[in-house]
Amino acid sequence: MGYNWQWYQIPKYIYRYTDNGFQFGELMFGLWTTITLSFSAFALAVILGLLLALLRLSGLFIGTKVAVCFLEFVRNIPLLVLVYLFYYVLGPVFKYDRYTASILCLAVYHSALISEILRAGINAVAQGQWEAAKSIGMSKAQMYRYIILPQSIRFMLPPMTGEVIHMVKSSAIVSVIAVAELTTLGQNIISDTYMAFEIWFTIAVIYMIVIMILSIGASQVERRYTVTN
């Protein structure tokens, strides 16, 4: 094939020893950004998703309509277009940087998926639980806080851990607006060194390792919360 393999070049992008001692390489910084980006976006997506789910379950005409419109809007736009929208259109209007744009965009996109998980979890709680909570005089907020949400957690956790993994994977897309996460840094290194094969293999392996660690965590969670009966 005539390709000049240069695997020996790769480790320095992961770590190196300099006069200042041990240092992480670019790819590790990229990975760190990927992780912080994903988890910030995930936290925001859960809050947004819960709001959406509660709005839809509120029984209020306007609340339901707002939530459904939002969900339809997000669901019918490709993630890539959503990224451009958040960076090139909303970014200049609200004056935020590319990192913020990517968090907001990922959060909005995933909030639609998460709200469905939360809604299904809430609906999975037996009707009698609502009735019992009502009959002791609880308000709607108290019913959710003390009776319904604690019980729906076990229905939500397994699919939610799946969503974390989904989030880490889809975070690669923000490389199109040059946020310095793993995929972007990989592209940068390749444009400097032309080591496309080595770098893309390495990046794929790094994602795989991270996702595998998360999957193991997820299956632990799943085992603990598997719904019996």
Binding site: A126, Q129, E131, A132, S135, I136, G137, M138, Q142, I147
Partner: protein, 248 residues
């Protein structure tokens, strides 16, 4: 019996589920301290009637007042009113993620804003009342059906409500557990609390009821004191129904 004012009052109440007419022109009242037992065939509207009292179902027309407060869909008073009305369900509906003690104290603490130690003292008192003080730290799933239903009764008692509603409290229980729950209910009846009870346990009804009610097809067919109700009811349908369930 001395005169007491009605604490629950239905005036020409109708209730529809879609096109289905579930309660037809219900007019009946329950006095403070009265013990009313409602029976009737499946689908006759007994649950619907009792669930209207605490607003779990909303009636469509007519007037329903409980403890002087009108109950209607969207009422702002209903949450406060429900604190005065305990309810025991056929399926117990205990909170499975809370211990027995927490099941009993969550209402008093969160709704009535009573301090936790005070609520726990009260909860243990009522667990004693239903004869299971030793189960306080367990989770509902670790108890037998009869014990769970007694916890549910204690949970209603902890709200110190004026009215207790029972919707077939023993019909989900194994036969050998029915009596332990009925015994507790008889003891409660002796305390002078207002009770409305849907049940087909006629032995229990004879023992505690001040008033017997027979429903069929969404209508109240017969209202009578137990002596008359069981010996010479006015309606044939009521007599046939009693013959049927007293056979076994």
């Amino acid at each position: 019996m001395s005169y007491t004012s009605p604490i629950i009052n239905f005036e020409s109440v109708d209730k529809f589920y879609g096109n289905f007419h579930a309660l037809k022109d219900i007019t009946i009242s329950v006095n403070s301290g009265e013990r009313m037992v409602i029976c009737g065939p499946s689908g006759s509207g007994k649950s619907t009637l009792i669930r209207c009292i605490n607003g779990l179902e909303n009636h469509n027309s007519g007037k329903l007042t409980v403890d002087g407060v009108e109950v209607f869909e969207g009422s702002k008073d209903i949450i406060r009113l429900r604190q005065e009305i305990g309810m025991v369900f056929q399926q117990f509906n205990l909170f499975p993620h809370l211990t027995v003690l927490e099941n009993l104290t969550i209402g008093p603490i969160k709704v009535r804003k009573i301090s936790k130690p005070e609520a726990e003292i009260m909860a243990r008192k009522y667990l004693e009342r239903v004869h299971i003080p030793e189960q306080a730290e367990k989770y509902p799933a670790e108890l037998s059906g009869g014990q769970q239903q007694r916890v549910a009764i204690a949970r209603s008692l902890c709200m110190e409500s004026k009215i207790l509603l029972f919707d077939e409290p023993t019909s989900a229980l194994d036969p050998e557990m029915i009596n332990e729950v009925l015994d507790v209910m008889v003891e409660l009846a002796d305390t002078g609390m207002t009770m409305v009870c849907v049940t087909h346990e006629m032995g229990f009804a004879r023992k505690v009821a001040d008033t017997m009610v027979f429903m069929d097809e969404g209508k109240i067919i017969e209202v009578a004191p137990p002596e008359k109700f069981f010996s010479k009811p006015d309606s044939d349908r009521c007599r046939e129904f009693l013959e049927q369930i007293l056979e076994h």
